[in-house]
Amino acid sequence: MATLAVRRAPLGGFSFENCKRNSILESEANKVGFSVPTARKTGTTICGVVFKDGIVLGADTRATEGMVVADKNCSKIHYISPNIYCCGAGTAADTEMTTQIISSNLELHALSTGRQPRVATANRMLKQMLFRYQGYIGAALVLGGVDCNGPHLYSIYPHGSTDKLPYVTMGSGSLAAMAVFEDRYKTGMEEEEAKQLVRDAIAAGIFNDLGSGSNIDLCVITKGNVDYIRPHDEANKKGVRHGELEGVQLTGDYRYKRGTTAVLSKVVNPLDLELLEETVQTMDTS
């Protein structure tokens, strides 16, 4: 593009000045040996499936910060409305805030229309917001719910494209989960069969992907009923530590008996304080 680099008045809208600053800071920090704090990403496996009477959504529960597990039991299935739930993969803060914003707007919309919200509405709102931010909001979502037109399942990508499908997977473990779906998905499954399929798909993600782990959460949505099963399956139960000397089970309790640490000396200095005045100010709780 042969355009002159002329200074022009700042246009309305977004300013990405800080992005330049951030990349300069990062290179400066690296020179001195520090690293910039990374956003916490939910390296994740999330998936959803349409069955005969509704939707089953599934998610693992591990949140990672680089190579360290930040949260062993985080909740990735977010509430959007009584009949619509959304699983989120990508940057934890982005999925949390985006789903909360759309949930709030959808509640207002439902009050305005006087009707139960539709999944297509939630899909439109999410995709329009994500497109507006051109992929900078790192939220990859699996949106599912049952409304007056039946069960619907959407996958929503960070740049704002959506796909309406009978089964979807997202996150770093999505390939493993998709392999399970492609093998065993059938139209018109029963609820138990669908739950088992989703559980197996998430388990495939947990055991074959480093970014996913811990437990399996499920959410079964049917017309008029939601089953939020957390946890459905504790796929990775933490083992019990045994004390080396006594062979006694240590429960991981960090409260120690008095006397564990030996007291060498003790000095008591009493402070002579005189009570001058006592006033009580009640808190206004109305």
Partner: protein, 232 residues
């Protein structure tokens, strides 16, 4: 691309940090595609493959790239999935509103101009190659091509997407003006099959639609029913 120069640098920096999140999940979803539209006397035939990719992973193997803009106007989308979905939704809204104001079915040329307006104005930010095709009472079946950059040109037959490069020769030698509807359907099916065979970013099933005064007729040709060619 003076305005957008900051963006690619930023996204590459962020991507390189995280090892746990694989390459394909960070890339934008794209309809690396083959799309085609042909005019015949009385209507148009539009066709597309069904593959949407994020890098090397197929995000959706049964995509519908033939998007309804109005009752007798469809568009074929290629390029960035997010960009083309957003533009198609905006144009659907604008055209629907315009049609209500006019109190008559909108012209295909109007739809094409609306697409061009968005694609040209935001040409630096968007990556969208679109074929607008449909039927109206004034000029019958029409195909308009709105490639990346926002040009607008009417053509009797047009192909688009990454797979189109492989079938220009086939199109040049096999298209003649004055084909019937069934000949157009056959031509489109063969062309899309050949492109899907050679282009890695195109594949899945062939989706076809015929738009005429009588309405829209959609069909799907599954993998095993595609025509077979001899070089394999």
């Amino acid at each position: 691309m003076a305005a957008a120069s900051m963006m690619p640098i930023f996204s590459q920096n962020v991507s390189s940090n995280s090892d746990l999140v694989p390459e394909w999940s960070r890339q934008e979803v794209s309809t690396g595609t083959t799309i085609m539209a042909v005019e015949y006397d009385g209507g148009v035939v539009v066709g597309a493959d069904s593959r949407t990719t994020t890098g090397a992973y197929i995000a959706n193997r049964v995509t519908d790239k033939l998007t309804r803009i109005h009752d007798r106007i469809y568009c074929c989308r290629s390029g960035s999935a997010a960009d083309t979905q957003a533009i198609a939704e905006v144009v659907s809204y604008q055209l629907g509103f315009h049609s209500i104001e006019l109190d008559e079915p909108p012209l295909v040329e109007t739809a094409a101009h609306l697409f061009r307006a968005s694609c040209y104005r935001y040409r630096e930010e968007l990556m969208a190659g679109i074929l607008v095709a449909g039927w109206d009472r004034r000029k019958g079946g029409q195909v308009y091509c709105v490639p990346i950059g926002g040009m607008l040109v009417r053509q009797p037959v047009s192909v688009g997407g990454s797979g189109s490069s492989y079938i220009y020769g086939f199109m040049d030698s096999n298209y003649k003006p004055g084909l019937s509807k069934d000949q157009c359907l056959d031509l489109t099916t063969k062309a899309l099959t050949l492109a899907m065979e050679r282009d890695g970013s195109s594949g899945g099933v062939v989706r076809l639609a015929t738009i005429s005064e009588d309405g829209v007729e959609r069909r799907v040709i599954l993998g095993d029913q595609l025509p077979k060619f001899s070089t394999h």
